[in-house]
């Protein structure tokens, strides 16, 4: 069933892609093929593959329990927040929080997770910023 839905979604994506390719404006500079042709070919290939997958699906993959899918989505949201907050809070604080969260979700106890988060955050700061000179996001306290 997964493959049927996925294949169908890919056919829709292909249709959208081809429609979007037709929206590409043509410029006064031009070549025989133009900027639309190759994307349209890709869209056709994408659609055909999606169709084949929908018609001849593989055996169902081993989907995890819903709780684990929520787990993954939660991590993705946290990572997204990490990107948003980096310029505000700076590298050390953000990395500490996310590192500790991940360590906790991967099976650490609370205190252990806090130590792991601090170790990851400070470790990366020392190695990559202080030793290797990579620029990291600065926070309100200069780090």
């Amino acid at each position: 069933m997964t493959d049927r839905i996925f294949g169908g979604a890919m056919v829709l994506l292909a249709a959208f892609f081809i429609w979007a390719a037709y929206q590409i404006q043509l410029s006064f500079i031009t070549d025989p093929l133009g900027p639309r042709a190759f994307p349209i070919v890709i869209g056709v290939v994408l659609g055909l593959c999606g169709l084949v997958i929908a018609v001849k699906p593989d055996p169902e993959p081993g989907w995890p329990a819903l709780s684990r899918i929520v787990e993954i989505l939660a991590a993705a949201v946290i990572f997204f927040g990490y990107g948003q907050l980096l310029p505000e809070l700076g590298f050390l604080i953000c990395t500490f929080i996310v590192g500790a969260y991940l360590a906790w979700r991967l099976g650490c106890g609370l205190i252990e997770a806090i130590i792991a988060g601090a170790a990851v955050s400070i470790g990366i700061y020392v190695v990559f910023h202080l030793i290797l000179g990579l620029s990291l996001a600065r926070g309100p306290f200069g780090f």
Partner: protein, 514 residues
């Protein structure tokens, strides 16, 4: 023997203190990256690229560092295969079959040493193969025009799913997704934005480094979150190396044939498009089993069953560099990642690389010889040290991997947008891996998409829009036929490569691709 004099020049490039140091660091990190389940050659190299890039390393040192990591990972993968029955990365999967039984019998030391020596011979011979074969391919590639290049790219995509593909539709779909992503951004030839939907961040297109780190490294973190608690960490006693660290000479003699055959098969598998180190080690093991398994002892701890796949995977790692450097068309995930790094440094691999940046290529090849000797030395006496790395629990390792991935992506542009993209690619990578759509063609599509289109449009401009121009030279006809054959053959033959019994579906899913 022009190649030999170029190689001598290469050694003079490689023998600087900085390059030797980087080769050493790369080999050391690579062995660890290969050994740790959860970090393999492709994602290990992927998170190091933006770092090498932002640290401002020039091209030669940067590629020396990263190819040393690549070679090192091929050595390291065997360690957890033998000690824990968990492949450290996908190419080391076949090594579990005889390596783990040997360790169970108390001969872990011998198994590690035999596989270390086989790895050395495999990559040593393959690096010589690279020295002599790459210039030949370059000479052929100099005859290529845009039509031939376009056909070559088609060939690369058609065969990328390769013999290992279960479902060619999914491989082709993955390539189409990658090519589609490559189309995002301003069209280089006419200057019009495509698929940007008014989003300014998309005008530059999607940075392939962001896509690579997301698809290969961040997706790994999600897989570990999904499978948390299913795999308990190894105990102290598991990583203690039993037996002798140096194997008896008789065992070396006994496995010499297997090593030699594994090397040959692995190298050929590596050079051919669409076959990375995983296939090399698989074919080497399968062939050796047919060749010398007289007493049915394969699978119960026969040293030949370790020597062959290890020589095979290291030889194909070297072999896979041949098409990547000479043609600019990688055949495996890790060589695609290495290609990405060269592109990020504004170096375009291909025949011109050998004439215009000869010092980069030959310096790299010389560094591979040096790194290989370093790896042999590290992997025989110091093996116990690397084995202890396996004790690092996943719950500490994966947060570090995730955060280093973000740091390296943030280092490229310092933009929040890129972090968002890397997370999206991470989720996409996790989803694709779950439904068995390979991620390597996606990456290759993003990398090669624009070059592919440019060559197509250039040919059409030359021929004034005549599509037949794509197939009017013997070389391009051959390439098209190979592409069609390479795509259809696995469908006809059915699934050739099967996962070894004894490795669960979860292990297979979580083994990092090469």
């Amino acid at each position: 023997m022009e190649a030999l004099s170029s190689l001598a020049d290469g050694f003079s490039v490689a023998f600087t203190l900085q390059n030797l140091f980087l080769a050493f660091v790369g080999c050391f990190l690579g062995t660890i990256i290969g050994a740790l389940p959860g970090l393999g050659p492709s994602n290990g190299v992927a998170i190091l690229i933006p770092l090498a890039f932002t640290l401002g390393l020039p091209a030669t040192p940067a590629i020396i560092l990263l190819t040393s990591v690549y070679y090192g990972a091929m050595y390291g993968g065997r360690i957890s295969s033998i000690l824990l029955n968990i492949p450290g990365d996908e190419p080391a999967m076949m090594t579990t079959l005889d390596g783990y039984p040997m360790a169970m019998k108390g001969h872990a030391g011998e198994a590690l040493a035999i596989s270390g020596i086989a790895s050395f011979i495999g990559s040593f011979v393959a690096t010589w193969g690279l020295v002599f074969l790459a210039p030949v391919l370059v000479a052929i590639a100099l005859l290529f025009g845009p039509a031939e290049y376009f056909a070559l790219y088609v060939l690369a995509f058609a065969t990328l799913g390769g013999l290992s593909a279960k479902n060619q539709a999914k491989s082709a779909l993955a390539a189409a997704i990658g090519l589609g992503i490559a189309m995002i951004g301003v069209d280089g030839q006419t200057g019009v934005p495509r698929f940007s939907f008014g989003e300014v961040h998309l005008y530059d297109g999607i940075d392939f480094l962001v896509a690579i780190v997301g698809l290969f490294a961040v997706s790994e973190v999600f897989l570990f979150l999904e499978h948390r608690g299913e795999r308990s960490g190894p105990g102290e006693d598991k990583v203690k190396i039993t037996g002798r660290i140096m194997p008896p000479v008789s065992m070396l003699k006994d496995t010499a044939g297997a090593t030699g055959r594994g090397t040959m098969i692995g190298f050929v598998a590596g050079v051919l498009p669409g076959a990375g180190a995983s296939l090399g080690s698989f074919l080497a093991y399968a062939f050796e089993k047919k060749w010398s398994d007289k007493d049915k002892s394969f699978g119960t701890g026969n040293p030949k069953g370790i020597a062959a796949p290890e020589a095979g995977n290291n030889a194909s790692a070297g072999g896979a560099l041949v098409p990547m450097l000479a043609l600019g068309v990688p055949g495996s995930g890790t060589t695609a990642v290495l290609l990405a790094m060269l592109l990020a440094l504004n170096i375009t691999p291909g025949p011109l690389l050998f004439t215009q940046n000869a010092d980069v290529v030959w310096g790299l090849i010389a560094a591979l010889f040096i790194g290989n000797v370093m790896l042999l030395i590290m992997n025989l006496p110091l093996i116990a040290l690397f084995a202890r790395v396996l004790l690092i629990p996943v719950r500490y390792l994966m947060p570090a991997v995730a955060m280093i991935s973000f740091v390296s992506v943030y280092g490229i542009s310092g933009s929040t947008f890129d972090i968002t993209m890397v997370v999206l690619f991470g989720v996409l990578g996790w989803f694709l891996r779950k439904i068995e759509v390979p991620t390597v063609p996606v990456v290759l599509g993003i990398l090669l998409g624009n070059a592919m289109e440019v060559n197509l449009r250039r040919e059409m401009t030359i021929s004034n829009g005549d599509l037949w121009a794509l197939i009017d030279s013997p070389i391009s006809i051959v390439l098209w036929l190979l592409a069609i054959g390479g795509f259809v053959f696995p469908i006809v033959m059915g699934q050739i490569r099967k996962k070894p019994a004894g490795i669960s579906a979860t292990e297979k899913e979580m083994a990092d691709p090469d």
